[in-house]
Every structure is written in C-alpha cells, then in structure tokens.
Symmetry: C2
C-alpha cells in the first residue's frame, strides 16, 4: 500500500467464502479502512469478527450499508435483487454497489431499474471457490491468479468500474471486462453445463436397478473425481439453472447434438470417426492444461 487506501468503509453482505475472502484480501493489503459484515446468521458474523474477517457486523442490512463507500453482495444469485433493493435505498450518494453472482444478465436486469441517482452498480463475477463455506472458509489468497469478470452496461459509471477493477486486482485477480451475455454463455459452457452433466450422470447410473447392488458401489477414483461437482448445493444450482436458463439451454442443446452424433457413430461402428472425435477432444483439452 502507498498513500490512501482504495476504500474507507466497505460493507460485505454475506460473510462466507466469497465475501470474507475479499474482505481479508483488502484488509491485508491495507486498501480498506473498515469492513462491516452483514448477514442473517449471528453465529457466523461473530465468528467472522473473531477471525478478523470483519471489523464489526450487523444483521440490519440498511443500517450496515449506510456509510459504506462500497457494498459487495456475496449472497446466493436468487437473493441478489432483493438484497440490492434494500441496500440501494440506504446507501450514501457516490457509493458503489457490486456483486459476485455467477449469472449476470438476469441480475443486471433486476438490479439496474432499482438504481437511485448517484449510486453506481458494477456487476461482477470472481471465478473462484472451494468446497467450503462460511466465514471460517475465507482466506486472503482465494482470488490470487483467478479470473474476475466484470460486466459493465451502458449505465455503468466508468470511474466506479475502474475502482472495482482495481479492487479485484489488489485481491490478486486477473480482471476481464465483457458483456453480460457473453459472460453468461461462457459460464454456461465451462461451469453450468458440466454441473448439469455430472448431476445427470450420477442420477442415471445411480438409479440403474438391473443388478442387486447399486452400480455406484463399483465406482473407482476416476468416477469419483469426475462426479465431485454432483455433490454441489442443490438449491444454488437450481437457482443458477433458472437464472441462466437461456444460455444454459443453448449450450445443453449444442452438447446434446454432439452426443447424438457420437452415439450414432458408436452404433454404426465408425472407428475412424470415433478416433478423430476423441483425438480432437484430447487436442483441445491438452491445449488448456
């Protein structure tokens, strides 16, 4: 840190892995004067304070955001618009609202109409996470060398965008800016579709009842690794599937077309076509290793 910190007081709504880790990163960098944690669960807020993730906390959303220079919404995607609606009415002029939701188009469509004059909204999505949750899961380096996508709109204030981008860079992220529609299609492809696939595979295999044992009992390490994401939170993924419905359906239909072709090639015994298909996947995959 040199000179003045990037922010004075910030408010983090939802002090879990995502919100808590940003707070810790900014505190450790000396780029924030005070962090207020806001949430519903008192026990988690107390723990967050004891761990130094936040400096103070409140369960009162409107009171908590009133003096903040920046408010970071780190609550589930389906709750963002409702939380934003309350926060925006209480925030001070010139303050910035940003979020970490993994779907952007619908969130923007719901939040932008609520924006009062003089309060800035910068939609964002830090692509990071672990399997843990709660304030105890937070750590300052979660965002190191991870990508953070910001999806400004025609209404987004350039200076506010710049400050939020600087914030994520301070947290260690590689910041990329793109439109919300592009973000949502990319996330549908690399995250939402794989989750749908893993959930479906486990269901299809786990409910096969032709043998007395459950087939899943035979699964070895490879299957367990491949289906790890099928243990993800069902409520969160219901919300994401519905919030990113259009882009997810586009990617799902594309995937289904490819799968149909593959099945036909297996049926027809097209060895050369199968080989070339697998080779192409291998080359594409190896290129991103």
């Amino acid at each position: 840190m040199s000179g003045q910190p990037l922010f004075g007081q910030i408010a983090v709504v939802g002090v879990g892995l995502i919100g808590g880790s940003l707070a810790l990163a900014l505190k450790q960098a000396g780029e924030v004067t005070e962090v207020i944690g806001i949430g519903r669960g008192l026990k988690n807020l107390e723990r967050a304070k004891a761990l130094g993730v936040v400096d103070s906390y409140t369960q009162d959303l409107a009171a908590g955001v009133a003096e903040a220079d920046l408010v970071f919404l780190a609550t589930p995607v389906c709750s963002l618009a409702q939380v934003a609606g309350i926060a925006l009415k209480a925030m001070k002029p010139g303050a910035i609202l940003t979020d970490g939701g993994s779907v952007k188009g619908e969130v923007i469509a719901e939040i932008e109409p609520l924006l009062p004059d003089g309060i800035h909204f910068v939609p964002g999505h830090p692509i990071a996470g672990t399997e843990n949750s709660g304030a105890e899961a937070a750590f300052a380096t979660l965002y190191h060398e991870r990508r953070c996508i910001l999806t400004p709109t025609a209404l987004t204030d350039a200076e506010a965008l710049d400050r939020v981008a600087r914030m994520w860079r301070i947290a260690g992220s590689d910041v990329v800016t793109m439109g919300a529609e592009k973000h949502d299609r990319i996330l549908a492809a690399i995250s939402h579709l794989p989750h749908m696939i893993a959930y479906t595979l486990v269901n299809a295999v786990g409910s096969y009842d032709r043998f007395e044992e459950n087939i899943l009992e035979f699964s070895a390490g490879g299957f367990r690794d491949f289906t790890r994401i099928a243990s993800s939170d069902p409520t969160m993924w219901r919300d994401i599937a519905l919030a990113n419905q259009e882009a997810l359906l586009e990617m799902l239909e594309r995937y289904q077309r490819f799968l149909d072709e593959l099945r036909q090639d297996i049926e027809a015994g097209n060895g050369q076509v199968l080989h070339d298909f697998f080779l192409r996947s291998k080359e594409l995959r190896d290129a991103i290793l």
Copy 2:
C-alpha cells in the same frame, strides 16, 4: 510368503503400467520364481529389465510363453484375441492364460473358441491405472485396495480361477467375481460413459465459435478437473467404445433420457423438480465418497 511361491515362471505380455505393476507386486511378495517380459518395443523391454520389473525378456511371443505357468495379457483390448491366438498355441499343458482387458464379453467370445484342451483361460480386469504408461510407470502397489473383477464362464476351470484370484489378492486387490455381461454394463456406466461425456463436452464447448476467443481459455480448475479424462488415448477409447458397444449404448441412451428430462425441466422452469433432481444426485454421490 510361506512355503512354495504361487507360480514358477510367469510371462507378462505388454510390460507397461498394468503388466509391469503385477510383475513387481508378485516379485516383491516372493510369489513368482521368474518373470519373462514380452513386447514389441525393445527399448521398453530393456528398461523393464534394468528396473527389475522383469527378469528376462523377448520379442518372440510364442517362445516367451512356452514355459510359463501363467501368461498375463496386458495389451490393448483390440489386440487381446490376436495375441491370445499365438500364445495359446505355444503354452504348455496346465498353464493359465489371464488378461486385464477392460471389456470382457467380446474378449471372451473371441478367445474361448481358441482354447486348446488343458490350457485354462481366466478373464479378468483389475480396475486400476494412472495417467502414465510404459515399464517406468509400473509400481508394486498399483493394485493395493483396488478392485479386480474376474469374469469366469461355464468353461472356466475352478482351480485356475482360484489361483488367479489368489494372485490378485497377493497384489493387494479386492477380488470380485461376476458374469462378463454384468462387468461390461458396470464398466460402461462408471468408466466408458464418463469418458464419452468428457470427450463430448470438450468438443462441444471447444468448437463454439461465436466469440473471437476460444471459450476453453476461460476454463478454471473445476472444468479442467472435470475434463481430465478427455485427454485419454483416442485409440484405446475407440477400441473400448467398439468392443463394449452394446452395454455402452444402453447406458448412453439411459443417460440421454435423463438429460432430456433435465433440459425440459430447465425449459419449463420447474424449480422444485430441478432441486429434487440435484439433491438426489448429491445424496447418491455423497453415499460413495
């Protein structure tokens, strides 16, 4: 080891990860007097001897198996019948032929008609592996706590089956016996189908060309883990897909039905149905952790 070793001389055809690791496990347990390595690549055979994986080696299949009490075929699935055809003509009376092929029905159908009187065939499949190959990849504990499935038929000699089962237990495996059809359906579900899915996902996403960048550039750790198996050897997977065609198609069609339903639920916005579907996957998955 106590008393006499389980086998005198054994021949391992294909001295890579699978064949070499069995040889090392039996040698370290003192349950084999001599291991002959058989293969096409001289360099790999020389390396296998230098590493102590085999005691001697030859590129002459018929000569190599002539004095062996047990011959273990650890070559690609599509080559097993051809290799067995040559080996069976040269093996001594009372000797046992076994294999490690990941598809059993087709392999049995091709090999059993070739069996001379007095030579025993025990079809098997040790479910283990790493991403490495060649004699250098072999290690004595590869099969520790892994499952090995043996698929005897009406023709399988009971004593030979028992000796092969003891061999895999000595190598550390949990030995399970079942019919070849059941084996092939289970493997289709927990291994072959996941590979088809991963190959298809990478192809479908990697060839999406609506943006100037390749979407795969945005993939983070989760996607990379999920698609790791799409880097598998295309030739091997072409062979497996064709050798286990029937069972794989059954599982693929089952998976496609589940995926169709999921897509329809996303389209219709059936939140409760989606939640319950994801929850059911999570419960099935968590039960096998």
